[in-house]
């Protein structure tokens, strides 16, 4: 491979990885925007999502890389798995909010955040026990087709990942921008008390935010599994921390910012691994986290309009 081809190849890998981080970062940002809460349980929802997808795909008789599907059946199986994964992850997020966070809603201080860490550990350890701490081979029914464009290899899998991520992100954007519930969500994020006075059911809006964020985390989990061909109890931590960095980098609470941040972090990870060293990727990423917090806490696309006037 020539130098420029390697560069382009890493861009492509970075965008795929960035899509996962972006989907995951959206959940952090949605919840933070409304409750000013950093939801560390989100890490584990992502990981559980990967396992839900794994179970659904295996229920279709897919084991590892042994079965390859094509055309409509493939699309149908993946779509069913995606929908089931998103609904299950969304429901998990809603349950976490309803039973562990809502009782803490009016408690001041870091109690709610600490609760999310606790919930994260519970899920982490449940999956650890259920899987004997093993990495599980993730079904991969996709044909190993790939396209060579100017020395760069683009796998079919990657194209699918891009399409699904783009559809989900555009869908979320439209939901937040255009629908009545989406507007209520933005209103609650900007001034919950005023939104309540307009007749908005704030509890309901919080629930929707958890559902949407967790469903996207589930989708990210499934994409992660398909991309790397494995799922493990520990995948939430690395991906979750990087996605959290992405949300902060983009401007926490800012939906387009989370998407941008995700892609940027994905690119930094792959380009950094290529040109510096893979073991430095985390150092670079978390330096960015600290740098953002110190020098530009509002993030790349931070809120420029006044908060209240």
């Amino acid at each position: 491979m020539t130098g420029s081809a390697i560069f382009l190849q890493q861009i492509i890998n970075g965008v795929s990885l960035g899509a996962v981080y972006a989907l995951l970062a959206l959940g952090f940002t949605l919840v933070y925007g409304i409750l000013e809460l950093i939801n560390f349980a989100h890490f584990s929802v992502f990981m559980v999502g990967a396992f839900v997808a794994l179970v659904v795909l295996e229920a279709f008789g897919l084991q590892g890389q042994s079965v390859v599907m094509h055309g409509a059946p493939l699309v149908l199986v993946l779509l069913v798995a995606l929908v089931v994964t998103m609904v299950a992850s969304g429901a998990l997020g809603v349950a976490i909010e309803r039973y562990t966070l809502r009782p803490m809603r009016n408690v001041k201080g870091p109690m709610a955040m600490i609760t999310t860490i606790g919930v994260s550990y519970i899920l982490f350890n449940l999956v650890l026990l259920a899987t004997n701490a093993q990495a599980i081979n993730f079904p991969d029914p996709m044909p190993q087709a790939s396209y060579h464009v100017g020395g760069v290899v683009i796998r079919l899998k990657e194209i699918l990942i891009w399409i699904v991520s783009a559809v989900l992100m555009i869908g979320l954007n439209l939901f937040v921008k255009r629908t009545k519930l989406g507007k209520a969500m933005r209103a609650v994020a900007q001034d919950a008390e005023a939104a309540r006075m307009m007749g908005v059911d704030v509890d309901n809006v919080v629930m929707i935010a958890f559902f949407a964020g967790s469903a996207l985390a589930g989708a990210a989990g499934m994409i992660f599994g398909l991309y790397y061909n494995f799922a493990q109890y520990s995948i939430g931590y690395t991906a979750g921390l990087r996605a959290f960095t992405a949300a902060v980098l983009g401007g926490i609470g800012n939906v387009p910012g989370a998407m941008l941040g995700g892609i940027v972090i994905g690119l930094i990870e792959t380009l950094g691994s290529q040109y510096i060293a893979a073991r430095w990727a985390d150092v670079i990423i978390f330096s960015i986290l600290i740098g953002t917090l110190v020098f530009r806490p509002a993030g790349l696309l931070g809120m420029l309009a006044p908060n209240r006037s």
Partner: protein, 245 residues
């Protein structure tokens, strides 16, 4: 609901924040054509009164009745649906939403349709400036413009009663006059107004009746003109020192 019942009544209403006794048995009553002004100093219970009307504070004793129904425990959303809309203190627009989206939020409990369009038209007619600014982010508007949007937002709920918390606060004298003119216009169109206002002078000029609240109790009430003429009121709220003649 009784047709002949007053629009809003407070009957010996008490409220508490924990151990703190705020409203101590207050009575208010107003008809569907009234402009009522509530005067009072700091910590007199004015804001708590507004919150009790909107349902974010629940009385610990007494009854709040709206069109004859006891609404003590009714949710805020249900109150808005039944026609009680707020203009909040310091306006509290959604700063990163457009003016139009803010108006939409005002109509949150309403169905989208012909009525929404008619309400929007009415707001735009009342406030041509709001129409001009409809695609702008609300946070970028001047204080006076924001107050117009805040009143427009309340009107989008098709209210019978608008509760206004300090509508003139932070506005230039010119805008204060405009806002009070608009309040009268809205009232003539059939919306009752219950307002808390520091600017007692202006408020008593347009109000039908007033109440004076002191540490959670109504100490004085009556027709606005009588209150405006009352020496104690003049001294306390109209900035006039009484000089013995």
């Amino acid at each position: 609901m009784r047709e002949d019942a007053p629009l809003l009544e407070f009957d010996a209403v008490h409220t508490h924040y924990g151990d703190l006794h705020v409203l101590k048995g207050v009575d208010y009553t107003m008809s569907s054509t009234d402009i009522i002004v509530l005067l009072g100093g700091n910590a007199s219970g004015k804001s708590t009164t507004m919150k009790t009307i909107m349902g974010t504070v629940t009385p610990t004793a007494g009854e709040v009745r709206y069109r004859g129904d006891i609404i003590n425990r009714l949710s805020t959303a249900e109150r808005v649906k039944r026609g009680i809309a707020p203009v909040l203190e310091a306006r509290r627009l959604f700063p990163r939403m457009t003016v139009f989206e803010n108006l939409e939020m005002g109509a949150y409990t309403q169905k989208r349709g012909a009525e929404f369009d008619a309400d929007l038209e009415r707001v735009y007619e009342l406030f041509p400036r709001v129409k001009e600014r409809r695609t702008q982010l609300a946070g970028t508007l001047s204080g006076g413009e924001q107050q117009m949007v805040a009143i427009g937002r309340a009107l989008m709920a098709r209210p019978r009663l608008i509760c206004m918390d300090e509508p003139s606060m932070g506005l230039s004298p010119r805008f204060v006059e405009i806002v009070f003119g608009i309040i009268q216009t809205i009232n003539r169109q059939g919306v009752a107004i219950f307002m808390v206002e520091q600017n007692a002078n202006m408020a008593l000029q347009i109000a039908d009746r007033g109440y004076v609240l002191q540490t959670g109790q109504v100490v004085l009430s009556g027709p606005a003109a009588a209150l405006a003429a009352n020496p104690a009121i003049r001294e306390a709220y109209l900035g006039e020192l009484q000089v013995e003649a």
